[in-house]
Subunit: 430 residues, 3 copies
């Protein structure tokens, strides 16, 4: 009975198209072109590597595609239990008509051929988006991305600021900013102007958010203008040789200035909190970062207080921090729980996090899910997984335990999955 | 089948009256007098504010009651998913005969009128307590509360010491202590004597506990008498201008002395650990505090070791800390898990915390629940919520999974809900 | 339906013998000889003490066995809810034919007599191992254990290094190492040679792992040889009077050298992370240690990076850290989640931890469970408890939610419970 209730709710949730408010799609090459684009996703390469496949076989310089695919496919059976593996099978079966029980060394060419054939069709992007119920996909754009040559209604720009905040002094960064903003940067004031112009340009080109991922050690803080000017000068002139102290102040100051730009441009500022970069340098591409739970959202209170009119969609990487996220979103009008990120994006973790959010955060503030995908096909299994968990929590916690009607539970689900992301990112109202 | 099992266990648990060992009831105005007393509860004002209702509309100076109620009621639909909203409906329906599906701008006056009419009856307090199965309600009394003019069997005094510990130097605090204890305070020794007299006076007036809420940064520690005397003198003479170091030592010393007084008066000392005050100064009244999980109960080990004959009912605000609380209560005879506090007081969180406690802490030490309420009507939905979760955990974890009889499961539930709080706070035996 | 599905999966899992890769069995006195060996387990003495039984009655000097048993038995009803209590009943009923509903002051002699009678039989060890489905039990051996006089196929040696790492300067430790390694230790180089010889001797005698338990404050780090030599000399000559700084460097250096020895001998190095020793000095024997969650596995990244060819089975004591453990095992090929340790070894905690592991860590890397037992009889209820939880998670998360066949779910369970521990510890392949 509960299972059929879940199925009915899931069926209703699945009828409604929604946006995908965070991805890494390259809009001019959004879809996969072959199996390599699917199995090249870091979830597969890193799990194969974790299960014992040597990195050189997976991504070694000069290794041709075929043996690289053999290597990853050869590792699949060692992580056939993972939810990531289930994404692969769901894509293979539902999108590409693959009928075998597993992808193996014997049959992967068959799947590869289907992918090549189907995705070559001009209608493929439309079809996969329709199957996924996705009507718009947010991108992750470098600050100097010209944002041209693609449909920004379908592929919505988003200003990614990690590089500006954490690598201001890296050779080329300031030059690229100067070039794209069309002004010389020889002072902190110039920098701030260039950043402001960049945000305005993004807004004009249809951007709906700025975004950053943050290490556990980062502490947002207002920096006195004179301090910022002094440290910025050090970083501008000495680059990576600048003092760690100056670099830290510049990170804080730039971050704070991004928040100012978001206020000015009425852009939500996505905070993705808690990633430690390069923890495992021996890992595969994009499989080297991890988390460290030693932080508190209390570290972000000054930011939330200083920018009451900026909306902060917040993702946390550490599952135990979800309780803080729920509590902060329960109190701060401008803090909104945002999706289920990376290491916290597996069903049992989502279920725990979601049931806490749904019982304590205003329904109007819950930003359900994003795909974080690099290739368009992954929106399909990821949103399907999320809808399944959402349906289960609505059925169990609301219909069975709290006596809600199915219709009311579905309506709550649609707020979370469909309506809120659209309203918050497009209308700017919480 | 499981649902009917849960219902039966819930039915049995609901038959037994119990104490409510922590609240903020004002005994001379315990019940609500109108809807404003219900919707004025910070859970509603802060959630309305979090969902976008401006603070000025909710609690602005000089704003009359009617538009303030309009403001909060206008926000209700935005948090109709929360468990707090379900408390409101349960109160409205079960206690006040409200029959609409929701409280709206159109119908709130109807509910207000019912509240005014029913609570005006002299028997109301009796009735609502009987409906809630509550036979005694613990208060939270300032140290200089005369504790007179109310029935201390029904409204049981509890010595709240936050102000003495953390605001010793605030103008007026020492004078109020001197006045209520009947002696001049011109030294640390005087202070300790006054605190001892206060604890004795509370005990004589029927107090059953002392209580304090503690920030994550606090570290309980024994302070050498000479150090305490010196720092106390600085705080006594310089008030808030005293050094931060002296103020911190005074906090530690006063806290430790409260524990001594609890030992002397055989009072349990309720520790409510982990709240950060004023994180969101822009929030509504009582909606400005949050949590910060960066602490360990290991910080309290010296205290638990130094006072083996003091019972410490312990609440933690951070859900992930429940596992430490379970482990400490499993080992330390004087550490008792105490209720489900504030941000950890929502059903899915209670369920996780409770199932861990029930499988690893001696049943004789589990102090089930308290309402934390400000108005008497809230004991009804809050204890109902808790009983529902307790019944579910007993049914699932004990009857279904461990093969216990229903009777044995109910008996365990009654230890937790009814017997232990009565025994620990009244008989002083763990 | 779900319950019968769980039962069927549980039945299948229960048919297969497996190793027990971590215990504290004394191979020459492996089985209990009477009830005192059962109730003397710290889980019972500490819970009885926690529930109010005075320590002097439980383990007082010179108190005879009978009143000591009376004391613990007298406390049982106060923790009859705990899973530990269920272990006792399961042992009593299934292994010793005890038929009463509870062990009481009136009937414990009956149980004691059964234990004495049955365990006196020469076949008892065989029988209890067969009932438990355990085919080999890993030990915890001091570095100077001669490893002689027992069957090392059944009782598999494991090199425990806590003492060498954390108590190098304690009187006698270096002498014992010198004696057992057969060389004088008058320098860091000698020490390293002696440690290498010890590891080789263990390997020759059939050891399958080294193991250590680690406090939350420990930070693994490579130590420059010259620094190690200098600090080692200070510790060697001054013992416990050496500087804290020198002692910390020696701990780090010895720990790192153990990892080197594991690499050389191809031994997995079990890390049991997060225990704080002696938090409650007033506790009973082995009931004085607790946890402190303020650590991150990121502290261990340098170690995992430095020894890619050493397998690290990792246990964490703090339940919230399971999410980090899952994430690190998902990325690092040499990090393997290892069992459910001590305060995290209760069903609801195991269930949460396990479902996260099963959905995100390669199935080939999950090392299901170990007993941690001191007496052979405890493997029976502990593995039974684990199999029950494993069956439930497989049924709920894989068969019901993900649509797997029962056979596939059982097969995954057998990887975790049976095949992986055998392969990782015996074949050395992940």
């Amino acid at each position: 009975m509960t299972e059929s209730l879940i199925d009915r709710i899931h069926g209703e949730l699945s009828r409604h198209p929604h946006i995908d408010p965070h991805s890494h799609i390259e809009p001019k090459a959004a879809a996969a072109r072959g199996l390599e684009d699917i199995l090249g996703y870091h979830y597969f390469t890193e799990l194969a590597h974790s299960a014992g496949v040597p990195r050189e076989q997976i991504e070694g310089e000069g290794v041709p595609a075929e043996p690289r695919l053999d290597a990853v496919v050869g590792g699949l059976s060692k992580f056939s239990n993972t939810v990531q593996h289930s994404w692969l099978l769901k894509i293979a079966r539902d999108l590409f008509g693959f009928e075998h029980a597993a992808v193996t060394l014997e049959n992967w060419r068959e799947l590869d051929a289907s992918i090549r054939r189907l995705t070559a069709d001009a209608s493929w992007e439309n079809r996969v988006l329709a199957e996924s119920r996705i009507e718009a996909v947010f991108l992750t754009n470098d600050f100097d991305d010209p944002l041209e040559g693609f449909d920004t209604e379908r592929y919505v720009p988003c200003l990614r600021v990690d590089e500006l905040v954490f690598h201001t002094g890296k050779p080329g960064v300031l030059d690229r900013l100067a070039g794209s903003a069309g002004l010389a940067i020889s002072s902190a004031a110039d920098f701030e102007e260039a950043l402001g112009k960049t945000a305005a340009r993004f807004r004009e080109r249809g951007a709906k958010a700025a975004a950053i991922s943050l290490p556990p050690s980062f502490r947002p803080a207002f920096v006195e203008p004179a301090d910022f000017a002094r440290s910025f000068e050090a970083v501008r002139t000495r680059g990576l040789d600048a003092d760690a102290g100056d670099r830290a102040i510049v990170s804080q100051g730039v971050f704070w200035h991004v928040a100012r730009c978001c206020r000015q441009q009425q852009l939500p500022f996505d905070l993705m909190i808690g990633v430690r970069r390069g923890v495992y340098p021996g890992g595969v591409f994009q499989g080297q970062d991890l988390l460290d739970g030693r932080l508190s959202l209390a570290d972000y209170a000054d930011l939330f207080n200083a920018f009451p009119d900026v909306t902060f969609p917040v993702s946390v990487l550490s599952h135990p921090l979800n309780h803080e996220l729920v509590s902060f979103a329960w109190i701060f009008p401008n803090v909104l729980p945002f999706g289920h990120w990376w290491y916290a994006n597996t069903p049992a973790v989502i279920e725990r996090d979601l049931e806490q959010r749904l019982e304590a955060v205003p329904r109007s503030k819950l930003l359900g899910y994003y795909s974080d995908m690099y290739k368009l096909e992954f929106g399909y299994p990821k949103f399907a997984m999320y809808r399944q968990v959402l349906a289960r929590v609505l059925a169990k916690r609301f219909v069975v335990e709290r006596g809600w009607s199915e219709e009311a539970a579905v309506d709550l689900g649609l707020d979370v999955l469909v309506r809120n992301p659209r309203r918050v990112f497009y209308d700017g109202s919480v």
